[in-house]
């Protein structure tokens, strides 16, 4: 059986890479995300309201969809593309930012705009809204990045007959300037042999220092 090769996008605090090609940028960390958004996307101002986890996930997913041939987000709603993400930190970055607003009883200013991002699956919702995806959206938190575990659960997503493809990814963020993500698209055929899918995901991880 031939190896499976998946197109992917990788982003960390210093790098952004689309299928092996580095994107040019001058800034790093959170500022880099905004710079890349302006250079490559630019038509979704809600981006600036997002927390870091969502910004990274949104950017990586949009760059990936463009790289695999999408001209622009669909006009029609579709249910056949699921969004399934994994990570270890979940919303830790947003949790810390929100905790700061309630830590001091004398300076107590809980904000709904910050609180909503203390759920890691919000990034799956942001991607669904952008692309009009009405299929499954799921966020799984794991102990560590494990290609076999991810491949197993991605293959499980195809138990839903409606699902033809899974926009799959890894996204972590501990601080506003510290994040790591990769995104790829997995079809039903890609997921047929879990070991082969795991090897393809392992290759992405090896190429992206995850």
């Amino acid at each position: 059986m031939e190896d499976l090769k998946l197109k992917y996008v990788y982003i960390d605090r210093q790098h952004a890479c689309v299928d092996g090609v580095m994107l040019e940028h001058e800034s790093q960390g959170g500022a880099m995300l905004s710079e890349l958004y302006r250079a490559h996307i630019g038509d979704w101002p809600k981006f600036f309201k997002m927390d870091t986890l969502s910004k990274v996930g949104f950017l990586a997913s949009d760059l990936l969809l463009k790289a695999i041939g999408r001209e622009k987000p669909g006009e029609e709603y579709t249910s056949d593309c699921a969004v399934v993400l994994f990570g270890t930190t979940a919303s830790l970055c947003a949790d810390r930012n929100y905790q700061e607003t309630i830590q001091d009883a004398d300076n107590y200013y809980p904000s709904p705009a910050l609180f909503v991002y203390t759920l890691p699956n919000i990034v799956t919702g942001e991607i669904a809204i952008r692309n009009r995806f009405r299929g499954e959206t799921s966020f799984y938190v794991v102990e560590k990045a494990d290609a076999a575990q991810m491949a197993f659960h991605l293959a499980c997503a195809f138990d839903d007959d409606v699902t033809a493809g899974v926009l799959a990814g890894w996204v972590d963020s501990r601080h506003n300037d510290d994040f790591q993500a990769f995104f790829t698209m997995v079809t039903r055929d890609d997921a047929k042999y879990t070991d082969r899918l795991a090897a393809a995901i392992q290759t992405i991880m090896d190429n992206s220092n995850i």
């Binding site: 905790q99 107590y108 809980p110 709904p112 699956n121 919702g125 669904a128 299929g135 959206t137 102990e143």
Partner: protein, 373 residues
């Protein structure tokens, strides 16, 4: 040959009791765990009761956080009742939670900082049972408990595992309470699901566990038939005005049954203006107007990561007792499309039900259960 998935054991730990049967009896007799705390209605675990239950079960008090203790208490009895060997590599542990140990951010209470990571918290539980598989944490906001069961179902059907221990839990803390208050989603009074005078949700604490088993043929007992997760693709913190995701999830699970076989739909029914209105639209669009509807938030509040599992367990007990449970707090229809909700217990002889949930991030989930035999 396609495997089927059964529920073989369960347990609910809540302010209404430390096992499923006592919870069901309390709810059926009209009790609620909701009380007023500093002017705000919530359903909170009695900390001393949890500590003494841990002592009885040999759980070392200093080794686990309060959240982990709730999870362990709910797991231990369910695992014991199931008779499975939890240390087997054929057993998968799945944890459904929205915020886990987030209260440690405000005060680590002597625990390592990394314990706030949900995967690390889940590992404490699987380690207790000597299970070496990587535990999976499902973190899909308020629908996590149904998603966790759906994912466990798929893992069992794949043949990789024979059993799954699926626990849902959340601890209430200033973090969550202040957040929901900032959304103006919280009612100070006891919540009133689907009522014309509903004014928001109450928060609650609970831990609930189901032990699922893969079987090669249909056997007597509870079977998880079909589950679906769908996104509204509309808004990250408000439900779809057309109930899109809930409607699509309902339609998917209805492929495996017809409405007149349903004892009831156990809804999310948070008692916020938007949620209950959205669910009424989704139920109407799915052709479920005549199917009894029941919600448990008036007895437990919104128990977040636990909701999907605890509410499924209570629904199983209700079907076995030929009962559609009352929706506590409801008095008068208050949604655009009327739903078949009732303030009193009703009887039923049907043996299937749907558990429906929706949550932030625009996500919705439905799961269909059937009692065989």
């Amino acid at each position: 040959m396609e495997r089927i998935v059964q529920c073989i054991a369960d347990n609910v730990v809540s302010p209404l009791g430390l096992d499923s049967a006592s919870n069901y009896d309390s709810v059926k007799s009209g009790k609620s765990g909701l009380k007023r705390y500093d002017g705000i209605a919530m359903s909170l675990m009695d900390r001393e009761l949890v500590e003494s239950a841990c002592l009885e079960n040999g759980i070392p008090a200093a080794r686990f956080t309060f959240f982990e203790k709730m999870v362990l208490l709910s797991c231990i009895k369910a695992v014991r009742d199931s008779g499975i060997d939890p240390s087997s590599d054929r057993v998968l542990f799945v944890l459904s939670t929205t915020k886990g140990n987030v209260s440690l951010l405000g005060n680590t209470a002597g625990f390592p900082e990394e314990r706030v990571l949900l995967g690390v918290a889940a590992r404490q539980i699987s380690d207790w049972f000597g299970n070496k598989n990587s535990p999976l944490v499902v973190c899909n906001a308020c629908i996590s408990g149904v998603c966790a069961q759906i994912e466990a179902m798929r893992a069992l059907m794949s043949g990789r595992y024979d059993y799954a221990v699926v626990t849902g839990a959340d601890e209430q803390s200033p973090f969550i309470i202040s957040g929901f208050k900032s959304f103006k989603a919280v009612s100070n009074d006891f919540c009133r699901p689907f009522d014309s005078d509903r004014r928001g949700l109450n928060l609650g604490e609970c831990a609930a566990t189901v032990v699922l088993k893969a079987a090669d043929s249909v056997q007597d007992g509870w079977q998880l038939l079909n589950g679906a997760i769908r996104n509204d693709a509309n808004h990250i913190s408000g439900p779809s005005r057309t109930g899109e995701g809930s409607y699509l999830a309902l339609m998917e699970v209805l492929r495996n049954c017809t409405p007149h076989h349903l004892a009831f739909v156990n809804v999310h029914g948070t008692a916020t203006a938007y949620n209950d209105e959205m669910e009424s639209i989704a139920l109407f669009r799915a052709g479920l107007t005549d199917v009894p509807v029941t919600g448990l938030k008036g007895c437990y509040g919104h128990t977040m990561g636990a909701a999907g599992i605890m509410e499924s367990i209570l629904s199983m007990y209700a079907v076995m007792d030929h009962t559609v449970l009352a929706t506590r707090g409801f008095a008068q229809q208050g949604t655009t499309y009327p739903v078949a909700v009732s303030p009193v217990n009703r009887t039923t002889d049907r043996r299937q039900f749907i558990k429906l949930l929706s949550g932030f991030g625009g996500c919705n989930a439905a799961l269909l259960y059937r009692l065989n035999g």
